[in-house]
Structures are given as structure tokens and as C-alpha cells.
């Protein structure tokens, strides 16, 4: 039995190389520092998982940040109660967010379309508000959940692992700061991508596509679509939990703002920007949004003034006044504009753009068969 087709294997290997080499090829873009690279990995995982529900199954959840947040909290609690090692935290976070997704999915999936979206949004906002109010003992409210020197860490204590100084997450005793943290997250992104690829190309994945395409036909074809959609929901919830846990590994402070609806909306944008339903699209969408968020939010009026310096004074001031609305705090305005443009002109996202360009180049040689082949390849 073949594990993968040739094309899939190439795609997977290519993806792996691109991810692992990120510190090198992102260097010219000024993005090759660990903190940003870690975020690329984390939100890549989030988007890949979201795509299983939205891109494959056709269910648009507006509350996936809730699972992301639950993953973060679960991971930090694991650091506090069990061990500073990252592995138990990851497992714990994925299990907890999976159970959470099972409950929310069970209720939300009683409806489809816009009602499903509204239900997920309502649940996520409910979780967000609970985290700030009733659940303060678990979430530590506005301060956020942090690691403490005198956390119990039962597993570590029984195994006699001492903690020196400020507690930080580790992997088998190794610190996970900097590039180690990046490669740790990268490993999970590659794993997450591999699993998503297997799901997409499996009979189960085809059923999900069938549900997206025509649920009525699925029912009359003999499928009970409920458990399929629930499975897709739970899987994508676990992906979100995994991503949330990784964020807690790289920065062990969990706050409720991670569950806010803007965070849920962001993953929707990532998936659509890259291309919903494609494998690499959501990852590219996540990377682009995180990259430009990083750049645009850092720009302020002083930088803009320096940029428009060559222009006459009046024009300079006018341009700065306009553009400053789109940078810094106004980054979301830019994001919104880009999103509108994408949905209107390129509804299939960046992947559709790539396909269109590839098609353009593809047609030319096919139009004149026989001409491309006999040309001798220049020696190198």
C-alpha cells in the first residue's frame, strides 16, 4: 500500500524544506527572528486546522479562538500543576480543547449555514466573557494566567527536577527560547500539515467535501452526516488547541483576549486570503497576515514623515495624515481593505491567483506541441 502519491510526497517534502529553511530565506525580509517565526508556525497550525472545518466541510465557524484560548490555558495549567516540560502540556491542551470542541460542536452543528456561524460566535464570546468574570479562579481574569516560582508542579517534584530561577517551559530539560522554540513549533506545523494532507486525501476527507458540495445528496446516499461534521469540528478544535498550547510554550502567559471574536475572525481571514479548501493556502494566508501585521503595526508617524520626506511639505503632511490611519493601531483597516479586494477579485484566495498564473504559462507550450521538446537544453 502506498502511503502517498508522488505529487503529495513532493508537496510534503517541499513544504518541510520551506518551513525548516525559514530562518534563511526570510532573512532578506527582515522576518528571520525567532519570535515572529514562532508566530508563523503557530498561526499556520491554527489556519490548517480551521481549513479542515471551513475549507473541506463548508462550515464557517466564527468562534475558533475559543479553542485556541482553551489550549493556552490548559497548557499553562499543565506547566503549573504537572511539569514544565512542553510535551505533557501539549497533550493536555489538545485533549481539553478536543473535549471542549465536542461539546460546542455537538450543540452548534444542530444548525448549518449562518445559524451555525452565529452559534459558534455566541459560544466563543461566552467563553471570553466567562474567562474575565466567573472563571477568574481558573483564568486569573485580566492579569492573565502566569507561571510562578511556587507552583506545585507535582510531576517535576516527584521526579526530583529542580527549577532554578524564573520557571520557563522546557523540552526534556532544554530551554525552548529563541530558535529552539521555532524548531519545536515548526515540527508541529509539519506534523499538522501531514495529518491535514492525509485527511484531505482519505475517504473521510472526500465525505467532508461531499458534505460541503451537497449535503442533501449525502443523506440520500446513505451517509449520516452529523458524525462527519462533528469529527471535522473536533479535529479542527484540537488543531486550534495545539496552536494555543504552542503559544503558551513560547510565551507562558495566557490571557482571555486570545478568545475574542477578532481572533476568531483573523483565522477566517487567513484561510480565505490564502485559499480555503487548499492545503498550503491557509498557511500562506497566516504567514502573510502575521508578517504584514508585524510591519504595519510598527510604523508610526515619524517613520511616515521620513518616508515622504522628499515630497513638498504640504503634500507630505497630507499623505502622512492619510496613511497613518492605515498603520500602527490602524493595521486592521488595511487588513479589512485587503480582505475586501481579495473576496471581490480573487475569491479563491492567493492559491487561485497562483493557479491562474500557472495556467497562463501552461497554455503556451501546450498550444504549440512539439516545439518545446526538440529544443536542446543548454548545458550548465
Amino acid at each position: 500500500m502506498r502511503i502517498m502519491s508522488r505529487n503529495d510526497l513532493l508537496l510534503f517534502l517541499g513544504f518541510t524544506v520551506v518551513v525548516l529553511a525559514m530562518p534563511i530565506w526570510l532573512h532578506p525580509f527582515g522576518a528571520a527572528y525567532p519570535d515572529l517565526l514562532q508566530r508563523f508556525m503557530i498561526f499556520g497550525i491554527f489556519a490548517v486546522g480551521f481549513n479542515i472545518l471551513f475549507g473541506l466541510t463548508g462550515y464557517l465557524s466564527f468562534g475558533h479562538a475559543a479553542f485556541f484560548g482553551v489550549g493556552s490555558y490548559a497548557a499553562v495549567w499543565s506547566f503549573k500543576l504537572l511539569s514544565l516540560d512542553a510535551i505533557p502540556a501539549m497533550i493536555f491542551a489538545v485533549v481539553v480543547s478536543g473535549v471542549f470542541a465536542l461539546v460546542i460542536g455537538f450543540v452548534s452543528l444542530r444548525r448549518s449555514g449562518i445559524y451555525f456561524s452565529i452559534l459558534t460566535l455566541a459560544f466563543a464570546q461566552m467563553s471570553y466573557n466567562l474567562a474575565y468574570s466567573v472563571l477568574t479562579p481558573i483564568t486569573n481574569g485580566e492579569t492573565g494566567l502566569q507561571l510562578n516560582l511556587n507552583d506545585p508542579r507535582y510531576l517535576d517534584t516527584t521526579m526530583g527536577i529542580p527549577t532554578a530561577g524564573q520557571p520557563v517551559p522546557t523540552l526534556l530539560g532544554q530551554s525552548l527560547g529563541g530558535f529552539a522554540g521555532f524548531y519545536f513549533c515548526a515540527g508541529f506545523l509539519i506534523l499538522a500539515f501531514f495529518i491535514a494532507m492525509r485527511i484531505t486525501n482519505s475517504p473521510f476527507g472526500m465525505m467532508l467535501k461531499g458534505i460541503k458540495s451537497n449535503q442533501t445528496r449525502m443523506n440520500y446516499t446513505g451517509f449520516n452526516t452529523k458524525p462527519y461534521t462533528l469529527a471535522a469540528f473536533v479535529i479542527s478544535g484540537m488543531y486550534a488547541g495545539l496552536a494555543g498550547a504552542l503559544l503558551a510554550v513560547t510565551d507562558p502567559l495566557a490571557g482571555a483576549e486570545r478568545m475574542q471574536w477578532t481572533a476568531s475572525g483573523e483565522v477566517v481571514l487567513m484561510t480565505i486570503l490564502g485559499g480555503a479548501g487548499t492545503l498550503v493556502g491557509p498557511v500562506i494566508g497566516a504567514w502573510l497576515i502575521k508578517y504584514f501585521e508585524n510591519i504595519f503595526s510598527a510604523i508610526n508617524e515619524t517613520i511616515l514623515h521620513r518616508f515622504f520626506d522628499v515630497l513638498p511639505d504640504g503634500l507630505d503632511n497630507a499623505l502622512v495624515a492619510i496613511t497613518s490611519k492605515f498603520v500602527g493601531e490602524g493595521w486592521f483597516l488595511t487588513l479589512g481593505l485587503v480582505f475586501v479586494l481579495i473576496v471581490v477579485f480573487l475569491p479563491g484566495g492567493i492559491m487561485e491567483g497562483v493557479r491562474r498564473i500557472a495556467h497562463l504559462f501552461d497554455r503556451k507550450p501546450k498550444g504549440r506541441p512539439g516545439k518545446a521538446a526538440p529544443q536542446p537544453q543548454p548545458a550548465e
Partner: protein, 254 residues
């Protein structure tokens, strides 16, 4: 049931929509292996009857029995798993997927049942299902378009593919809701040929049809529905000669 050959029995079914008596006192017996046509003027309740059989609508009273199992109250997917497949008036297909995948999905439903978390195997290692699907497409003359998106097919081809999607499940009972509605003469004729071809497989069929040409060239038995009641029942010749039918439906044109 007195007749042991009866596979589908619609027993004393009534269906009311508010004040409208859409189906009244329907008693219909379909014998194994036969093609049973249900005809009648517009609004006679043909589609309602089909929807009651397939579980889309619940009858107000009465029940539908398929091979000793009561269908009433079951969900469409459960009814399909009992061996009943349906072709819709407007083809219900997976428009975004390839023709081949459209046929593979029902084949997997037949093999794996209503739910199976089958995500470790790759689709291309399902060689059995793949071969079966390709053979099926060959059978209905659509092998050449197997890689095409189903949504881009012509209406006639969509119908043909939908038939293939039903046939690959080897259903015991096939329900056809106006299989030639909105088709050109040419597409209608190819569909009739295809239906005649599968007739030899001994599958029971219930067909709702407007087109008398289609009905008289396919049916073994015909039930005539008018205003929610069955007004005549019998072989094509019996029905054709029935004065009540002439009056209600055929209008003397035949």
C-alpha cells in the same frame, strides 16, 4: 400482504398539508423486479408520494413497508442503507467534485455504512472502489469525462451520472422522479435506453413521469394518480383503455 412478491407496500397513506388533502387513501403495491410507473396530472400528488416513500415527508397516517421493514419515521440515510436509492427531478450531485469522485462516494457509502472514520487510508489505495466506479462509468458511457467537474456536465450527462451514483449501490429499489424532465428529445432517448438496459438487472423501480412515451416504453405496471387518489392501476394496456384515466389525464390524446 397477500402477494409474496410485493417488495414495497404503501399502506393506507394519507398526507395533509393544512386543509389540502395531498394524498388520500393511497394503497400501492410494487412487485419485486418490476418497473412501476406513477403518472398523473400536475398537482396530483406524485412527488408528495415519492417524498413519503423516501422519508423526506412523514405521512399524516398510514405507513410504508419495504420488504417487511417499516420505513415511516426513518431518516433518508437509513432508508438508503436498506437498499433504496433515488434519482431527483433536478439532479442532486456533487457539483464541485469530479465525475469519478461523485460515483466513488456512493460506492463507499455502500461498503462502509452510514459513518466510518476512514482517514488513514489514502483514496488512491482504495483500488477496489476505484475499479468498481470506473466500470460503472464505463457502463453508462461516461468514462471519458471521469476527471471533469460534475457541475460542468450537460443536463443529460448529470442525470446519467446521478443514475450511475444510484446504480453503483446495487439498490433493491430505485426511485426515479421525472428522470427526463427538462431534457431534449435526444437526451430523453438516451436516458430511456439506459433505463431499459438496467431493467434487465432485475432491480425494482418506481418511476414518476410526465412523458407518456417514457412511461409506456418502460413500465410493467402503471398507477394513475389524480387529486391525491389512485384512480387506476394495472398494466399499460389496461390503463390506456381505462375510461376514467382517459377523462382525468390522457384527455383522449392517445
Amino acid at each position: 400482504m397477500t402477494n409474496p412478491n410485493v417488495v414495497l407496500h404503501v399502506a393506507d397513506v394519507h398526507k395533509r398539508f393544512g386543509g389540502l388533502h395531498a394524498l388520500a387513501d393511497i394503497d400501492l403495491q410494487v412487485e419485486e423486479g418490476q418497473t412501476h410507473a406513477i403518472i398523473g396530472p400536475n398537482g396530483a400528488g406524485k412527488s408528495t408520494l415519492l417524498n413519503v416513500i423516501i422519508g423526506k415527508l412523514a405521512p399524516t397516517s398510514g405507513q410504508v413497508v419495504f420488504d417487511g421493514t417499516i420505513l415511516t419515521g426513518r431518516k433518508p440515510y437509513q432508508i438508503n442503507q436498506l437498499g433504496i436509492a433515488r434519482v431527483f427531478q433536478t439532479p442532486e450531485i456533487f457539483a464541485d467534485l469530479s465525475v469519478l469522485h461523485n460515483v466513488m462516494i456512493p460506492a463507499l457509502a455502500k461498503r462502509d455504512g452510514a459513518f466510518r472514520l476512514n482517514m488513514l487510508r489514502g483514496l488512491d489505495s482504495e483500488t477496489g472502489i476505484l475499479r468498481e466506479s470506473e466500470d460503472m462509468l464505463e457502463d453508462v458511457g461516461m468514462f471519458a469525462s471521469r476527471e471533469m467537474a460534475a457541475g460542468s456536465l450537460s443536463r443529460g450527462d448529470k442525470r446519467r451520472m446521478e443514475l450511475a451514483m444510484c446504480l453503483i449501490q446495487h439498490p433493491r429499489l430505485l426511485l426515479l422522479d421525472e428522470p427526463t424532465a427538462g431534457m431534449s428529445r435526444h437526451d430523453t432517448n438516451t436516458t430511456i435506453e439506459l433505463l431499459k438496459k438496467i431493467k434487465s438487472r432485475g432491480m425494482t423501480k418506481v418511476i414518476i413521469e410526465h412523458d407518456m412515451h417514457v412511461v409506456f416504453s418502460l413500465a410493467d405496471k402503471i398507477s394513475v394518480l389524480a387529486q391525491g387518489r389512485i384512480i387506476a392501476d394495472g398494466t399499460p394496456d389496461q390503463v390506456r383503455g381505462n375510461p376514467k384515466v382517459q377523462e382525468a389525464y390522457l384527455g383522449g390524446t392517445h
